[in-house]
Symmetry: C2
């Protein structure tokens, strides 16, 4: 009913659950987990902190809704694949990249599993595990293992990213970490031996190599 509705975003949208979640995601992306406060969020929404509580029960519900939205979007963008194997790699990469782009989602998923977000990923993975063609009794274990691995790596990758963010350079950081290990060489002989690989490894490639390992395990044990 505004006099001139412009095609793009209107200046004054009414408060709604969807809009609150959307702005919360922006805030989390911009400022990190610590940046999401009801005061900051209210200010971006040009209202008072109390108004938000009319639409959302509390901060936890807000975080659940925000991470569900991000995961749903990511799953929607996963392309169809020729083989189940490729499809599983695609889902895995989609989750990895979504959490890499929105690190706070990782923290939220490990704080509250059994969210819709996890269920969505599990379902997607499961269908492909089924298509892989092993015996039915192995499906649950295979899909669970894939889900746990994917979430585990993605969360740690996101945490690393957050750690490195402000001033630190990735190469510098890894250099320092592996130097530390070399100093403790007597206590950590294995780690020192593979430290070179740490310095040069590609997180995403390493992640997918782990997926292949689990897929090989699934195929081997049927």
């Amino acid at each position: 009913m505004a006099k001139a509705t412009r095609g793009s975003e209107r200046r004054e949208e009414a408060l709604s659950r969807e809009r609150i979640v959307e702005v919360a995601i922006e805030l989390l992306d911009d400022e990190g987990e610590g940046g999401l406060t009801f005061r900051a969020l209210a200010s971006r929404l040009a209202t008072g902190p109390g108004a938000i509580y009319w639409h959302i029960a509390n901060k936890n519900e807000l975080l659940v809704a925000a991470s569900d939205a991000v995961v749903a979007r990511a799953m929607g963008e996963v392309l169809a694949s020729a083989s189940p194997r490729e499809a599983i790699r695609g889902i895995a990469a989609g989750v990895f990249e979504a959490i890499d782009a929105h690190p706070w989602v990782g923290a939220q998923l490990s704080r509250a599993p059994w969210q819709t977000a996890m269920l969505q990923i599990f379902e997607r993975l499961g269908r492909q595990v089924q298509a892989l063609g092993g015996p039915e009794r192995a499906w649950f274990t295979s899909a669970s293992a894939l889900l746990s691995y994917i979430i585990g790596v993605s969360v740690q990758n996101a945490a690393n990213g957050r750690l490195l963010e402000p001033p630190v350079d990735r190469a510098d950081f890894l250099e320092k970490v592996s130097a530390q290990w070399t100093r403790d060489a007597h206590a950590y002989p294995f780690t020192v031996k593979v430290a070179a690989r740490l310095r040069e490894h590609d997180d995403r490639a390493e992640f997918l190599a782990g997926i292949d390992l689990i897929l090989a395990g699934i195929e081997a044990s049927r």
Copy 2:
């Protein structure tokens, strides 16, 4: 220099980093993550909140120190094993049980990887991966995949435990979850198909089955 030093704990110990960390662990175990505040901790230590800062820089350092201590203890209790395979299962079970008993450790490990705690687990796993006898170029990937999977499952298991703690019965909860899935049967056909397994599955056994899957993958791809 007390008049009568008793064999067991003295009533009045001086403040020290070790003692603070020890009492913090007790507090976290008793009250959960939310229970660790500098005021509550100070009160258990019969001092003021400011005193703690003489020994520990901030809350994050306290959480890192506490989880390092728990993991170090758990790793110390892992028994020697005949085969590398058994040793890896033992390390995995040790981590799983330590995080199950101290759920807050899970949250902390996924918030701050590259802690001593993670390094210790990685080193232990790595030595056994090496003993497994595959090619050296595969060691890093194999040990990383195992570590990620172990931490991923343990963290989620701990989060579930926290979720279920207060009044909820595990069977009831799983019943409700799988009922929810059945209602959304059209959206989650795979999940519904394996829901029966969810209701009756044993988390620890499922976890070890996942380890076996990865081990099978490691052996298959060499």
